[in-house]
Structures are given as structure tokens and as C-alpha cells.
């Protein structure tokens, strides 16, 4: 494999959306806990689109895009490089995944 240099700054959008992924992923997981624990929230989400899952998806995807857009304008690339962005992708996946799996885990024993 060719040895590559390490001097290119990661593009602003890539950093902004990388950070946004971490936040949106955790938001996704926490919204599950909130709507499952607080029925009026789930009912309200259902009333917006006809199904709570559709509203959930819209909230998460819109948050990711809007947050990513604004974070892309924030000059984060000076503080966050590609390695840190990789760490955020992994952290977002692990944290989001663990919260979701952990929350529903008790059902495995029903």
C-alpha cells in the first residue's frame, strides 16, 4: 500500500456532518427512550405523520442535516481533524447502538 502524506485538512462539511452524526445518533437513541417512557410524546409523534416511527426518522434526519449545515460553517476543521472525525463516527455508532440495544434488552427475557 502506498504511503500517504498527512497534511490535507479535512473539508469543513465533512467535519460538520461528522460531528452532526455523533449528536444525531445519540439523539436518535435518547428519543426512543423518551417516547417509550412517556406515552404522550409517542402519541404526539404519531399525530404528526400517522406513525411515530416516521416522525422519529424525520426528526433524526432533519436534525442531522440542519446541524451538519450549521456546523460546517463553524470553522471546526481547525480543531477537528480526520482522525477525530473517525473517532466521532465510531463513538456515535457505539453509543447510539448500545443505548438502543440496552433499552430493549430486557425484552429478550420475556
Amino acid at each position: 500500500m502506498e504511503k500517504l502524506p498527512e497534511n490535507q485538512a479535512l473539508d469543513k462539511c465533512s467535519v460538520g456532518f461528522g460531528v452532526s452524526f455523533l449528536i444525531a445518533s445519540i439523539f436518535n437513541a435518547l428519543l426512543i427512550v423518551a417516547k417509550e417512557k412517556y406515552a404522550p410524546l409517542k402519541d404526539w409523534m404519531k399525530s404528526l405523520s400517522g406513525h411515530h416511527w416516521i416522525t422519529h426518522g424525520i426528526f433524526v434526519i432533519v436534525l442531522f442535516i440542519v446541524l451538519g449545515y450549521f456546523l460546517s460553517k463553524a470553522d471546526l476543521e481547525k480543531k477537528i481533524d480526520a482522525d477525530k472525525t473517525s473517532g466521532m463516527v465510531i463513538a456515535g455508532t457505539v453509543l447510539g447502538g448500545l443505548i438502543i440495544v440496552g433499552f430493549f434488552f430486557k425484552h429478550l427475557f420475556e
Binding site: 500500500m1 502506498e2 504511503k3 500517504l4 502524506p5 498527512e6 497534511n7 490535507q8 479535512l10 473539508d11 462539511c13 465533512s14 456532518f17 461528522g18 452524526f21 444525531a24 445518533s25 436518535n28 437513541a29 426512543i32 400517522g50 406513525h51 416511527w53 416516521i54 422519529h56 426518522g57 433524526v60 434526519i61 442531522f64 442535516i65 481533524d81 480526520a82 482522525d83 472525525t85 473517525s86 463516527v89 465510531i90 456515535g92 455508532t93 447510539g96 447502538g97 438502543i100 440495544v101 430493549f104 434488552f105 425484552h107 429478550l108 427475557f109 420475556e110
Partner: protein
């Protein structure tokens, strides 16, 4: 027959999305000036396949899977011995899939807005995103299998 056939594209397109993400990882690992078009093509392919899988699967889930009738998959599972194939595997799957969708948007942002072959860290980021898609995607396939098995166990009376 339409309803039954439409269970297949969700799975098949999901597999195509996983394969495209593997392709991205391979192109990124061997990135040079000459393979950038293939890297971008594979990353767009990943996005398209995962979104199509998501939209078709989501439509099937909302319209058929969870329908409030006695012969929907959800009702059948909850009436049988493997209730957890819905209450754990389906509940987790339907929400973990959102993470895949976010990653499928992030991947082409990185491959189109950076010259991946010029920086080792950016190349590694591309590989991390692609392989995370692969791992989550394979997890979704496995979860889907457990959900299908939950229906089967109910129809077989738990045998």
C-alpha cells in the same frame, strides 16, 4: 402476491448497499489519483441502495408489518413464543437503521469533498465510515432473520 414480493427488495437492496460499502473500503484502502471516480461511484451506490432499502422497508413496516390486524407479522409474532423477535429485534432494527441512513449521507460528503488519496487520515475516515456501514448492515440482516424466524415459530406453534 404484491405484498409478499415487496418484502424482498428491502433485503436485496440492503445487501447491495453493504457490498457497495465494501467496495468503497477497498477503493479507499488502495486510493490513488486514478481510482477516485470509482470511489465516488461506490459511495453514491451505497447511499442509493441504502436509501431505497430504507424507504421500501419503511413503507412495508408501516403499512403491513405493524398493521392492527390479526394476521400482520407483528400480531403473529406477539401471539407466539418468540415475542422478543419483535420487542427486541424489530424495535432495535427499526431505529438502528436510522444510523445507517445518516452514515450513507456522510460517506459521499467525505468522498466528494476531499481528495481521499492525498491524506492518510482522510483515507482512514472513509474506511471507518464504510466498514461501520458494513457492520451495521450485516447486523440488520441478522436482525431481519430473527424477526422472520419469530413469525415462523408462531405459525409452527412454538415447535
Amino acid at each position: 402476491m404484491w405484498k409478499e414480493l415487496m418484502t424482498m427488495p428491502h433485503v436485496v437492496l440492503g445487501v447491495f448497499g453493504i457490498l457497495a460499502a465494501v467496495w468503497v473500503a477497498v477503493e479507499a484502502a488502495n486510493s490513488s489519483e486514478t481510482n477516485q471516480h470509482r470511489l465516488k461511484l461506490a459511495s453514491i451506490g451505497t447511499t442509493l441502495f441504502l436509501w431505497l432499502s430504507f424507504l421500501i422497508g419503511g413503507w412495508w413496516y408501516v403499512v403491513y408489518y405493524g398493521a392492527a390486524v390479526s394476521n400482520s407479522d407483528k400480531s403473529i409474532i406477539l401471539a407466539g413464543p418468540w415475542k422478543w423477535s419483535h420487542s427486541f429485534f424489530m424495535e432495535a432494527k427499526e431505529h438502528i437503521f436510522f444510523m445507517l441512513i445518516l452514515l450513507s449521507i456522510l460517506l459521499p460528503i467525505v468522498t466528494f469533498r476531499n481528495q481521499v488519496f492525498k491524506d492518510k487520515k482522510i483515507r482512514n475516515l472513509t474506511i471507518v465510515i464504510a466498514l461501520t456501514i458494513v457492520v451495521l448492515g450485516l447486523g440488520m440482516e441478522g436482525f431481519g432473520a430473527m424477526i422472520s424466524k419469530g413469525v415462523k415459530m408462531s405459525l409452527m406453534g412454538g415447535k
